[in-house]
């Protein structure tokens, strides 16, 4: 077009013309970067693996296991009448169960309840390493899925479809049969949410990567963290339990206040 004829135009055209050497150089640089990045990532994973799998940590974990877990799970973690075999449950399962304080279990009951965490992070890592060394299983989640920076809307929809029937749409928890329950999800760390989905602790089904992809899991975590960080726009949420807590509040505090006021109004002046 004649109007666009500017001095810069000609210069741009001149610089845009590449020599065949430049293309080769670009490909070479691209390959170098990709390869280098890959090598960096793979070496970091490799070092992580060697770290978790270091023989010292494993043997430390084994000792802790023998002292704290073997009563129910057996000395070789192959299960007894009172506890299941842990061979193949993977690192994620141990990190969830021990990291949330559910294990070691306090008492037999419909399900293991959350209680103060019993082990330090190093001890938990040692237990994780020991159980993970027994057989392959779900590994600890990658940090990229735990940043809670995904798509909250997609996560909310996935949560409603896959999780809300037990955990309630706002993650407030719900009842299951025979005294079991789905716990409230408020304040649960992204790692533990992810691990729970991968391993299906207690009565929870397993949502493996074929079922809900790691990206989708990240979206779900994003939605739950959104709920954690944004209080209800309507005021106090009354436990987010739905119409039951609303009705209870209305009868006790709403109508209670009204009745108290009627008594006040109708009281004879002294």
């Amino acid at each position: 077009m004649p109007r666009t004829k500017k001095p810069t135009n000609g210069r741009a055209r001149r610089t845009g013309r590449r020599s065949p050497v430049a293309s080769v150089a670009l490909i070479a640089i691209g390959l170098l970067f990709t390869g280098g990045a890959y090598a960096m990532v793979s070496t970091s994973t490799a070092t992580a693996q060697t770290e978790t799998a270091s023989q010292q940590t494993i043997s430390e974990g084994e000792k802790l296991f023998a002292a704290n877990c073997a009563t129910c799970h057996g000395l070789s973690a192959d299960g007894t009448g009172t506890g299941p075999s842990l061979i193949g449950v993977g690192a994620a399962s141990v990190d969830f169960q021990v990291g949330t304080g559910r294990m070691p279990m306090q008492a037999n009951g419909p399900q293991a309840i959350v209680k103060p965490v019993q082990f330090t992070e190093e001890q938990t890592a040692a237990l994780v390493a020991y159980v993970a060394s027994l057989a392959p299983g779900p590994a600890l989640p990658e940090a990229e899925y735990l940043d809670a920076e995904g798509d909250a809307a997609a996560g909310a929809e996935l949560f409603r479809i896959n999780c809300a029937m037990c955990h309630n749409v706002a993650g407030a928890g719900g009842a299951l049969t025979e005294g079991k329950y789905a716990p409230a999800l408020e304040g649960v760390s992204p790692e533990h949410i992810y691990e729970a989905m991968v391993t299906g602790p207690q009565n929870m089904p397993v949502f493996n990567d074929m079922n809900i992809s790691p990206e989708d899991k990240r979206d779900i975590i994003t939605y739950l963290k959104y709920l954690d960080n944004n209080p209800s726009p309507g005021g106090f949420a009354l436990g987010s339990l739905g119409p039951v807590s609303e009705g209870l509040f209305l009868w006790i505090f709403g109508l209670g206040a009204i009745v108290a006021l009627t008594v006040w109004i109708a009281a004879k002046s002294n």
Partner: protein
């Protein structure tokens, strides 16, 4: 008498200035003074429990006001759109226009969320205050002649209020309301033969269809409010016509109402009370979330959230469904007979009809045809109070069952345990409640009798000159005594042969029921008895 002689010269100057002139202007054209004179001097007795109906009226006014605001922005359409409002976790999600406009009201209309919450909290308060008002009417016997019809109107209002509530709950087309409608759809389809037809008629095809929100909207903002307003008018008119009831007390008789006139005292109190109720609702709506539709998301037939319940007033029906044992479903004559639906429907139907016609049942059993303007103290009608307690227990059992899952999680119980306990409570509870309440009433009556005859124990022990120790009893004052002794003593109906000299089976049933109603009774203290008791030392 001709009209011409009555005409006065228009130039007559009346005292009272502008107000007087304005009042006169209106009166000459509307004859309002007769009405004001009549209504303004209407006497209303003062007791807190008489204000519960007012609470219902005022909540209804609040509902009308906030509801009108909501209609400016709500769109009752089930067309699919992608949400594009300010709530992030729903951005881009496909939903109906109804849901999207409800979300816009909540997040993008100034004051919209407050109005939504005002509307919803006021609706819960409306039904709850009707319920409490109805309990007051029942336990004080205020439904007796001449007020039986007003009881029926009031109860129909209660049912209509529930219908209003349920249609409103269904309008936002969120997950919760859709689940509620699905249960209604299931209940309708559970009716043999016609159920499926009715369901398809209601939803315009297979559930959920694209019609139901628009239809419910018409009912919610047009038909039901119109009927409710008309019935409230009749209900209040009857209150004026019948005059207000009053509790027994000195000078309170069937012919005389003791209290304050409407103008100025009562009108001022009632007017002020409206603002108090409005204030309470506003406070609740400002500080407490109700129906967070943004959590529930748009309706989709596949997900059901844990803790999905109807609003409290439909809870008893939901509870009835939860309490039915599983497996009561058979195929007969090519149709599925869902007794797990039919049994709760029948039981609830019988319960509702019984409450509706209770005044007529009691009048028939007692044979009482007198007018009653003085209320019964609940203890002085032990059988009625006991029936009421049984009914309340039954209702409360069903109601609690609707929250069985929440009870289980929050009290660390098993779901099955809660359900089984409530099944027992719903079936046996009413009988236990009946027995206990009746005995408590009779005991209280005995205590009253004791107090009238011997006064209160003062705790002061006195030694008489002869050496005898007695406890001095404080005689009850006359106002108090009036309250304690003024109630009717009923006798069971006696079997009387009819004109043919026969006793019909119906008569036998009636006499039997009457005996059951009145066989245990404590007679009020009579004058003679009272005088005799005064001769005592006490």
């Amino acid at each position: 008498m001709s009209t011409a002689t009555n005409m006065k010269p228009a130039a007559t100057k009346k005292p009272g200035g502008l107000t007087g002139a304005a009042a006169n202007y209106i009166d000459e054209r509307t004859s309002a003074s007769t009405l004001v004179k009549e209504l303004g001097r209407k006497i209303f007795p003062d007791h807190w429990s008489f204000m519960l109906g007012e609470v219902a009226l005022y909540s209804f006014v609040i509902i009308l006001l906030s509801g009108s605001f909501l209609t400016f922005f709500f769109q009752a359409s089930m067309a699919e759109v992608h949400y594009d409002g300010s709530y992030v976790p729903l951005k881009g999600v496909e939903m109906s226009v109804a849901m999207a406009s409800s979300l816009d009201i909540s997040f993008d209309v100034r004051g919209g969320l407050l109005m939504r919450q005002v509307h919803h909290w006021a609706a819960l308060l409306f039904v709850a205050s009707i319920g409490l008002h109805m309990l007051r009417i029942y336990f004080t016997g205020a439904f007796r002649k001449p007020r039986e019809l007003n009881w029926v109107i009031g109860f129909v209002l209660f049912i209509l209020a529930m219908a209003e509530g349920f249609t409103g709950y269904s309008l936002p087309d969120d997950l919760l309301s859709g689940n509620g409608l699905r249960i209604i759809d299931g209940m309708v389809k559970g009716i043999p033969v016609v159920g499926t037809w009715i369901s398809f008629l209601l939803f315009g095809g297979e559930f959920p269809g694209t019609d139901i929100v628009g239809r419910l909207y018409s009912l919610h903002i047009l038909l039901l409010p119109a009927i409710i307003v008309a019935l409230i008018a009749i209900h209040l008119l009857f209150v004026v016509v019948h005059k207000h009831t009053q509790y027994p007390g000195a000078g309170h008789t069937n012919e005389r109402v003791v209290g304050y006139p409407v103008l100025p005292v009562y009108a001022a109190k009632a007017g002020g009370f409206f603002f108090i109720v409005f204030g309470v609702v506003m406070l609740m709506a400002s500080f407490f979330t109700i129906n967070p539709i943004w959590n529930y998301g748009p309706y989709d037939p596949s997900p059901v959230s844990a803790g999905t319940q109807p609003d409290w007033y439909i809870g008893f029906a939901d509870g009835a469904l939860r309490l039915v044992p599983p497996g009561l479903e058979w195929v007969w004559f090519g149709h599925t007979w869902s007794f797990n639906i039919l049994i709760p429907l029948t039981v609830i139907g019988i319960f509702i009809v019984t409450v509706l016609i209770y005044p007529f049942i009691e009048a028939w059993i007692t044979g009482d045809k007198r007018e009653h303007h003085v209320l019964d103290r609940p203890r002085n009608a032990p059988t009625r109070t006991a029936i009421g307690a049984a009914g309340v227990t039954f209702y409360a059992g069903l109601w609690a069952a609707a929250s069985s899952d929440i009870i289980a999680t929050h009290f660390k119980l098993t779901m099955e345990g809660v359900i089984h306990a409530l099944q027992v409570i719903v079936i046996l509870g009413p009988f236990i409640a009946f027995f206990i309440t009746k005995r408590v009433c009779l005991a209280l009556q005995k205590k009253d009798r004791e107090i009238v005859l011997h006064g209160y124990e003062s705790g002061r022990i006195v030694r008489l000159p002869g050496g005898e120790y007695i406890e001095v009893h404080q005689p009850v004052d006359e106002y108090e005594r009036w309250k304690l002794v003024s109630y009717a003593d009923y006798q069971p109906l006696e079997l009387t042969p009819n004109a043919q000299g026969k006793v019909s089976p119906l008569q036998r049933v009636r006499a039997g029921l009457s005996r059951w109603f009145f066989e245990d009774r404590i007679a009020p203290v009579g004058t003679k008895e009272l005088e005799e008791s005064h001769g005592d030392h006490h």
